[in-house]
Every structure is written in structure tokens, then in C-alpha cells.
């Protein structure tokens, strides 16, 4: 009955591959530093703490390379467009970019902890060996200094026995940058908790720009070349023979004075590519910000919904995409995502903005105070960016679920359907669309009912009554609504929306809905698209798994969630 693999198989595979790479890097570098001959004398000073510091460093390099890529939206949109030939399942992974970003962040936090603790031991042991507490060999090795006349190179980076670990850390490049990037990381993580991000997004947004400090520190972290390894001398230094007689170093041919050198920094090689890509992203945003945007129309809808119809030269969109808006009169730095409610066939693009926070509230006030026929405030537009709803027309059957203002991407889709019908588009692959809209108050239905009425008429004219099935659910109903509905029971059209489909009261019973879709579309591939809250997403995801059949000839449900 349930088919978990259909919705989660590729995600699990990607996570397993990523984890395998992490483990392989850790083990490889641990063994390299724990058993390599080059670091035998270094291990004499540090023990296994050397390997425990270097192994997570390699994992950190890998993950710091990955961490920026999931938040490069233009890159993801480009990949989305390029993967049209690939399956829908591959493109669906791009919509889980933020989940992957969080996963990589957790790995970075964990490896930072291991790396830091190991280096605490390293610093302590460097200091102890200079005090002679770790044995004669360690003491002799620690006494080596950079000296051309004695022909020696240092192994212990502590210059003298009066250097404490604290002094060393805060006077060396590696130590100082290490502390700085760890603090930046901790501040970014604490301000990214669910509570903070959901309720005080500004704190999260501004604090997250500490990533600039983080990556700057990361690039310079290895510049001090503190990790020392042995280099080959001529004749070679026989470690196993010579380690018991440091007094004879430089005096007998088997034991020339050992020479050490630091490894070249490599972290910048991992992160420079993603950093360049991200800088291009921000540059692109700035360029788009500078491009002029004009207002075609401004409509203030009920339920504090504001419709902006904008025109921008060179702007082209697909269904279900979203843009970021920036209003410098409100805030120079804040960009907010909004799904596009216009169809690609139109010569403008529109967004519906509901007043839910500081930014949107100020925007609504600003627009309300405009003189008649006045131009709106200056607006910067970044995008458009692709997300899950782009794939609506790639499924035979699509279920669209919008909750509250989450209906906006589906406005774009439904408008596009209307245009496709008007033009009799032969490329339209979708055979059937089910649309569900869950809303708490009746006012919200007003601004959307027009579109549905037009679509309803068009369907009837073309005799495609079965193409679009839509159900509206009013979840915040009370007794007066029920009484009103009972009195007008006999009317052909709904009392709230004026549509032929009657409004449902309460929440939909998803089991019945999925069963109905499955019976009406046997052996079809159904895409379920949601723009709404997380709780509903979890519920629908479970239903998709539950009602997908293992039999390849039966109906399969694929879950997609709108994701900014």
C-alpha cells in the first residue's frame, strides 16, 4: 500500500552519499596523520590529538564548500531549468535546498567542536613538552628553532617555555582566526533556532551575514602553517634508529638533524569556488535592484491584501515562480519573497501581499496614503526564482493545495491554464487538476472568486467540465454561516463565492480526497503541490506515501511543497 521510496528514496540516497563522503574524509585524514611517517615526531609531541584535529578539519573543508551552494537561488533556478530533461524527482531535490543547508550546518558545528577540543589538547601538549614534562625526546624536539647557522627548523610553534597556550592562541593567525570564526558560527547558529527565525526574522537575517566574517577567517585560518611535518633530508633521518639518541643528531651520518616544514593552507581551495558563485549571486541581485520597475496598477483587496501589478523590462517568468522585493523607503537591506500571481502569458507580473509583519504593514500604509493615480514607492525586484510549483504541468494529474495566502502560486497556474485554453495549447500534458483552498475567513475568497468564475465559464464553453475540480474550505465557520447556508440550500450558486461549487465548511478529510483522486485517475502520476503551513505539509506527505502503490501500474502520488 504505502510507497515510501517514491517520495523519499532519492533524498535518503543523497544524504547517505553525503554522509559516506564525510566518513571517508574523516577516516582517510585520520589515518594519514595518525600513521604517516612524516608526522612521527609531531605525534611524539601531540599524540593522537594531531589526527583528531586534522580529520575534522578535512570534513570541515568539504562542508564549508557545500554550505553556500544551497542558498544560491539563481544557481538552483538555472539547474531547475536545465534539468527539464531529467526526471521530476531529481528536480524535487532542489526544493529541499534549505534542509540540506541545515544538515551541512549541523555537521560543521559538530566538526568544529571536535576540531577545537583536539587543538586545546595540542596547545597544552606543546606547552608541556617545552617544560620537559613529556620526556627527553619531546623536549629535544621542542628546543629546535629556526636557525640557519645551526641548520635547524622548528617543530614546536611555541617560541619559549614562557608562552602559555592562551598567549599562543591569541597571537597566532590560526588561533585568532579560529576563535573569530567559531564565535561567528555560534552566533549564527543561536540566532537560527526555529523560535528566533519564525518570530524575529530580522535577528536571524542580519546575524547570518556574519558568514562574511566566517569565510574571511576561514580563508586565512591555515596561513600560519602551524601543523608541522618532517621533510626528507639528504641523507635521510632514520627515525626508528635515531629517536633514542638525540644527542647524536647532526653528528653521525644516520642521524642528520631532522627538518620540519608546515603544510600549505588548502581550505581556500575548497571554498573559493562557492564564494565566487555567491558573490555573483549578490552582484546579480544588486544589478536587478538597479533596473527600473514601474507600476501598472495597484489594487487594495479585502483582508489586508495588496495586489501590485509591475512591469520590468526584460522580465520573463514561468508558472509558480517567486521574486524578492525590496522597498528602499522601508528598508535598504531587507528582501522579502513573494510568489507571482500573474501568468507567463501576461505582459506584466503581479504579486499579492498580505499584511503580516512590519515590512508588509508599512508597505500597505504607504500605498494607502498615495494620491489618486500616484506611482507607488520605488521597488527593487530580484528574480524570478523557480520552486516546486513550476512542475505542475509535468504531471498528468495535479492536486493544488493552498492555505490562506498560500493560494498565490496557484493563481498563476490557474491563470496560465485559462490562457492555454484560450490559445488551445497542444503541449498541455496535464489532463486534470484538483484545486483545494483552505481559508479561515470569507473575505479572502473575494479576490480569487473572479478568477475561478472566469475559468468556470471557459471550462463549460469548451466542454471540459472535468478538467478542473476545485473545492473551497472555510475553516473558521460558525453557526451564522451554517444558518445562512441552510436557508439558501436550493440556490444553484454558492452564497459566499457565487461559484457553482459550494463552499465546504471545516477542514477537508484528506483520506477521502486522496481516495477519490485515486479512483478517478487509476494508473496516473499525481503531483501534489502545497503552499501552506508545516503541519499540513506533514499530513499531506503522509497521505502521498500512504496512497502511492508499489505496483507500477497503479496510481502514484508525489508530494511537492512551495519553498522559499
Amino acid at each position: 500500500m504505502g510507497n515510501w521510496i517514491i517520495n523519499h528514496g532519492l533524498s535518503a540516497f543523497i544524504v547517505v552519499v553525503w554522509m559516506a563522503i564525510n566518513i571517508a574524509l574523516f577516516v582517510h585524514f585520520y589515518l594519514f596523520y595518525d600513521q604517516g611517517e612524516r608526522f612521527e615526531y609531531t605525534r611524539e609531541l601531540l599524540g593522537s590529538a594531531l589526527a583528531w584535529a586534522r580529520a575534522p578539519a578535512a570534513v570541515l573543508n568539504f562542508n564549508c564548500m557545500l554550505i553556500l551552494l544551497p542558498v544560491c537561488r539563481n544557481l538552483l533556478s538555472l539547474l531547475r531549468g536545465s534539468f527539464v530533461c531529467c526526471g521530476r524527482t531529481v528536480r524535487k531535490q532542489l526544493d529541499k535546498n534549505l534542509t540540506f543547508h541545515k544538515l551541512v550546518a549541523y555537521m560543521i558545528a559538530l566538526m568544529t567542536a571536535v576540531h577545537t577540543i583536539a587543538h586545546l589538547f595540542n596547545a597544552e601538549r606543546y606547552s608541556n613538552s617545552l617544560e620537559g614534562e613529556d620526556g627527553d625526546l619531546a623536549f629535544e624536539l621542542s628546543l629546535l628553532q629556526d636557525s640557519s647557522e645551526l641548520n635547524t627548523t622548528y617543530l614546536n610553534p611555541f617560541p619559549s617555555n614562557s608562552t602559555t597556550p592562551m598567549i599562543f592562541v591569541f597571537t597566532s593567525i590560526a588561533g585568532l582566526t579560529g576563535v573569530v570564526i567559531t564565535l561567528a558560527l555560534i552566533l549564527m547558529i543561536t540566532s537560527s533556532m526555529e523560535v528566533i527565525r519564525r518570530s524575529y526574522f530580522e535577528v536571524f537575517w542580519y546575524t547570518h551575514h556574519l558568514f562574511i566574517v566566517f569565510f574571511a577567517g576561514l580563508v586565512f585560518h591555515g596561513a600560519g602553517r602551524v601543523v608541522r611535518g618532517q621533510v626528507t633530508t639528504d641523507p635521510p633521518h632514520n627515525n626508528s634508529f635515531c629517536e633514542d639518541q638525540p644527542d647524536n643528531w647532526g653528528k653521525i651520518p644516520e642521524c642528520p638533524i631532522p627538518q620540519f616544514a608546515g603544510g600549505s593552507p588548502q581550505t581556500w581551495m575548497y571554498v573559493i569556488g562557492p564564494m565566487i558563485i555567491y558573490i555573483c549571486e549578490r552582484l546579480l541581485r544588486f544589478i536587478r535592484y538597479m533596473q527600473p520597475v514601474t507600476y501598472r496598477k495597484i489594487v487594495i483587496r479585502p483582508s489586508k491584501v495588496l495586489e501590485l501589478q509591475l512591469v520590468k523590462p526584460g522580465f520573463s517568468m514561468d508558472v509558480g515562480q517567486y521574486v524578492f522585493l525590496n522597498c528602499p523607503a522601508i528598508s535598504q537591506l531587507e528582501w522579502h519573497p513573494f510568489t507571482l500571481t500573474s501568468a507567463p502569458e501576461e505582459d506584466f507580473f503581479s504579486v499579492h501581499i498580505r499584511s503580516v509583519g512590519d515590512w508588509t504593514e508599512k508597505l500597505l500604509k504607504m500605498v494607502e496614503n498615495l494620491p489618486e493615480g500616484g506611482q507607488g514607492p520605488k521597488m527593487g525586484v530580484d528574480g524570478p526564482f523557480g520552486t516546486a510549483s513550476e512542475d505542475v504541468f509535468h504531471y498528468e494529474v495535479s492536486m493544488l493545495v493552498g492555505a490562506g495566502i498560500g493560494v498565490t502560486p496557484f493563481a498563476s497556474i490557474l491563470k496560465s491554464i485559462w490562457y492555454k485554453f484560450k490559445d488551445s495549447d497542444p503541449k498541455l500534458r496535464t489532463k486534470r487538476i484538483y484545486f483545494y483552498w483552505l481559508c479561515r475567513e470569507t473575505h479572502a475568497f473575494e479576490w480569487f472568486a473572479d478568477l475561478l468564475q472566469v475559468l468556470e465559464r471557459e471550462m463549460e464553453e469548451r466542454g471540459m467540465r472535468d478538467f478542473l475540480t476545485y473545492k473551497l474550505y472555510l475553516t473558521g465557520w460558525d453557526q451564522s454561516h451554517a444558518d445562512h447556508a441552510m436557508v439558501h440550500f436550493d440556490k444553484d450558486t454558492d452564497i459566499i463565492t457565487g461559484l457553482k461549487q459550494k463552499t465546504h465548511y471545516g477542514r477537508p478529510n484528506w483520506d477521502k480526497e486522496f481516495e477519490q483522486v485515486r479512483q478517478e485517475n487509476p494508473s496516473s502520476v499525481v503531483g501534489t503541490f502545497l503552499c501552506g503551513p508545516q503541519a499540513l505539509a506533514k499530513d499531506l506527505e503522509k497521505k502521498c506515501v500512504k496512497y502511492s502503490d508499489v505496483d507500477p501500474r497503479r496510481t502514484k502520488f508525489y508530494f511537492n511543497k512551495e519553498n522559499f
Binding site: 567542536a113 577545537t116 589538547f121 597556550p165 555560534i186 518570530s199 535577528v203 477542514r507 478529510n509
Partner: protein, 185 residues
């Protein structure tokens, strides 16, 4: 989006700092680093900060979200009254606790993190915030179970001509009563 309550971020930062302080302390003591006495203090301070910060405060506006199992900690913190309610007290307490951590490398990271938490708490105090316990969850009235069966139409009414005739129009009645019901002869 509401006005920023800095205490919520300070709470997260202080909890993280407490864990880092505790970890640094454990490392310092286990490794018997020089100055391990400061690390021992770090363990005690870290545990104390974690216990103090674990119960999250009630939010001024919006839904308060509890950490799992925080109720008993909430009661303990609440019992100290104004000392724990006032964020100035918390800011200075954290500032005082983080100072010994600055003398040893293992605890210096916890020291700086706790110092930052102290600054954020100071910002919260300046903005007039204070700690309120989340005591009882007001259970919302649960909506009834969704209707499983759609409402049915009432059974159709019979056409008017089949309905019962009135007694005063007996001539039109289709039914002929064999027994007289009007006059008792």
C-alpha cells in the same frame, strides 16, 4: 512580524554558551591542563547557566513555545522571584560568571560566548523586557471531528395532489369513508 524580543535570542545564546563552558571545563579537567581549577569552575558555572536558561520565558506577544520538560525548571527559576525576572540581574550574573573562564584556554570560548549573551540580555533589559514563567498551557477548545459523511438531502416531498385533503372539502376527496364520521344517527 512583531517587535524584536532580544531575550529570546539571549536565551538561546546563553544556553549554547553554558554548554560550551561546560564542555570546555570537562576538557580542561579531564586533560589536567594547567590551571585546571578554572576548568572545574567552568563545569559548575556551565551547569548552573544551563539550568537557569533552560526554561524559556513567556513571550510578550505571540505564542510562547516551551522546551520539552521545562516545567519543573520553570517552577525553580520562578521561586527566586525578582532576581531571575530582572534581565539586568541576568546580564551582570553572566558577565560575572564568564570572567574566570578568561584565564584558561579551554574555557575561553565559553567565556566569550557567555559575555555575548550577557550583552544581549543587557539589550533586552534596556528594552524593558523581563522573564515571565510559562505556567499552564491553555488548552484550546478542540474543534469537533470532521464530518465523515456529507449531509444528505431530505427525502423528496410528495406532489401536492397526493397530499391529504382537508375535512371541509369532502366532495373532492378521493377516499370514500364507509362509516359516517360527522353525524351520529
Amino acid at each position: 512580524m512583531a517587535k524584536i524580543e532580544w531575550a529570546m535570542w539571549a536565551n538561546e545564546q546563553a544556553l549554547a554558551a553554558g554548554l560550551i563552558y561546560l564542555t570546555g571545563g570537562i576538557v580542561g579537567v579531564a586533560g589536567q591542563f594547567r590551571g585546571w581549577q578554572f576548568a572545574a569552575f567552568g563545569i559548575a558555572a556551565g551547569v548552573f547557566v544551563c539550568l537557569l536558561e533552560y526554561p524559556r520565558s513567556k513571550r510578550g506577544k505571540g505564542t510562547s513555545i516551551e522546551r520539552s520538560g521545562q516545567y519543573c525548571f520553570t517552577v525553580c527559576v520562578k521561586s527566586f522571584g525578582p532576581l531571575t525576572r530582572n534581565y539586568y540581574v541576568r546580564a551582570f550574573l553572566h558577565a560575572a560568571l564568564c570572567v574566570p573562564g578568561g584565564f584558561m584556554l579551554a574555557t575561553v570560548l565559553g567565556c566569550v560566548c557567555l559575555g555575548m549573551a550577557s550583552l544581549i540580555y543587557l539589550s533586552a533589559a534596556i528594552h524593558g523586557e523581563h522573564w515571565e514563567p510559562i505556567l499552564h498551557i491553555e488548552t484550546k477548545k478542540r474543534l469537533g471531528e470532521s464530518i465523515k459523511e456529507p449531509p444528505q438531502n431530505p427525502p423528496p416531498r410528495p406532489p401536492p395532489e397526493l397530499r391529504r385533503k382537508k375535512a371541509d372539502n369532502l366532495d373532492a376527496a378521493a377516499y370514500d369513508n364507509p362509516m359516517s364520521v360527522t353525524i351520529n344517527e
